[in-house]
Amino acid sequence: MNKKSKLALAALVALPLIFLTSCGNDEDADDINSDLVEEVISNVKNESYYQIPSPDEMFGFIKESGLKYNKSMLNPVQNVSSYSEPKQQSLNFGIYSADLAYTAAFEEYQESIKYFGSIQKLGDQIGLSSAFDKSLIERVQTNLNNSDSLIAITNKSYFSVVDYLEQNEQGDKLGLVASAGWLETVYIVCNTAKYGKDNAAIDRLADQKLTLDNLLAYLEKYQDKPDVKEALGWFQDLATVFASLEQKSTGSGITLKKKEGSKKMVLGGGDNITITEAQFNAIKNKVSEIRNNIVKVQ
């Protein structure tokens, strides 16, 4: 190595050091190294994470349970350009994401394309454009006749948004998106299922009492943000309606074990959540009130 190369290499190594030392007071390089690494260590701590099931899980289930597709339940795509406030945009991004999952689950392909366009448009406005791979929309179009692929692609787009928001430490925005997405799934189930007829869907609705607990725990983490605090208030109101649902014992304690003669483990026993018609109607009214407040166009 000649002298010039050595000098260039020394400068390359020295530059970051000069930059680091110039930020401190009288600290030597060793102290600075320790502080930086300390930050790495102290950022890793025991955590509790609260997960909210994505809309596709619910819609896959209700389709199997025999509920019919009802287009009038969706937030019209024409509304997308009316949402100008960031809070409104994040919430309606969640609403449209659930609507997209609904259309995909019921193989309403042309509608899926429209809703994909809406979430892309809102995504651009709330800084999520890089979460969308440009090829995604092309893949939606090329998989129009393959429902499994379409569902997989729409799920991928939802998961990539979740991933992007987590990566960029925008848990507050993710809270708004996920809670509105969950609300839209519950809204659609409430307004398409008939009490006393669609028992599987009604039972699944009652079980949302547990999901709502996770949702509240998630939002509470970010309640220092005014938008999240406001949304938390809505969902706390809804939780008081869900609180009246009784949990009845199945007669045996909860277990997770292999059943006799079976290789598979079974999670069974414990309590079942029950719902009366009056409770169903109360939930339906409250959910509709919150949801319609989110989607309303000024």
Binding site: L9, D31, N43, E57, N214, I254
Partner: protein, 214 residues
Amino acid sequence: MKSYIKIFLVVMSILILPNLSNAQYCNNFHASFCNPSENELYKINGQSKSALFSKGQTSELSVIVYKGQDYRISLCMDENLGSQASLKVYETKKVKVEKVVENKTMEDVIDADGNPTGEQKEVITKETKVTEEIKKELLYDGSADNFATELEFSVETTRRLILEISIPDAGGAGKSKGIATGKGKMVKSSEMGCVGILIEHMTTPKTGFYGTGF
């Protein structure tokens, strides 16, 4: 020349490490490194998660599992975290608990004629309050199952579960210890790595003969 490269690598690692501290590079680790089921009926569940762990750390993931569904949970991690991560499954539920609360107040002592004596006495009143508490019940302990990293089960009643993941510390114990601070933590970065929990679900397959055959 070799020493220049060493210095350069050290400096670059100092500059890069704080970015890793945000656990960003662990995102989606589960999708890339946890083995999905070979059963094509299983779909990836949106409650899957990845995070940055250090040795000795314990973290919890609260998930909802619905009745009528099968779930498969698989755990994967960076090699430097070892191979004995423990997965525990708890059920959590809110239970109403009656608590008797004692209130102590000071009251004037009254004589037989109903006049204050100028003295005071302590009066204890008891009040029953109903509060909600979170009850946690252990359902499965992976350390008693040869540190299994996969768990598959059918759900008969919808539950809110806690998946507790513990990475043993350098001494091999699974209990979480406080994270030490101080100088010379460069070596500690090798005690950190990604952990992923891949959750998959499908409708519980019906078994037996169905239909109205003759």
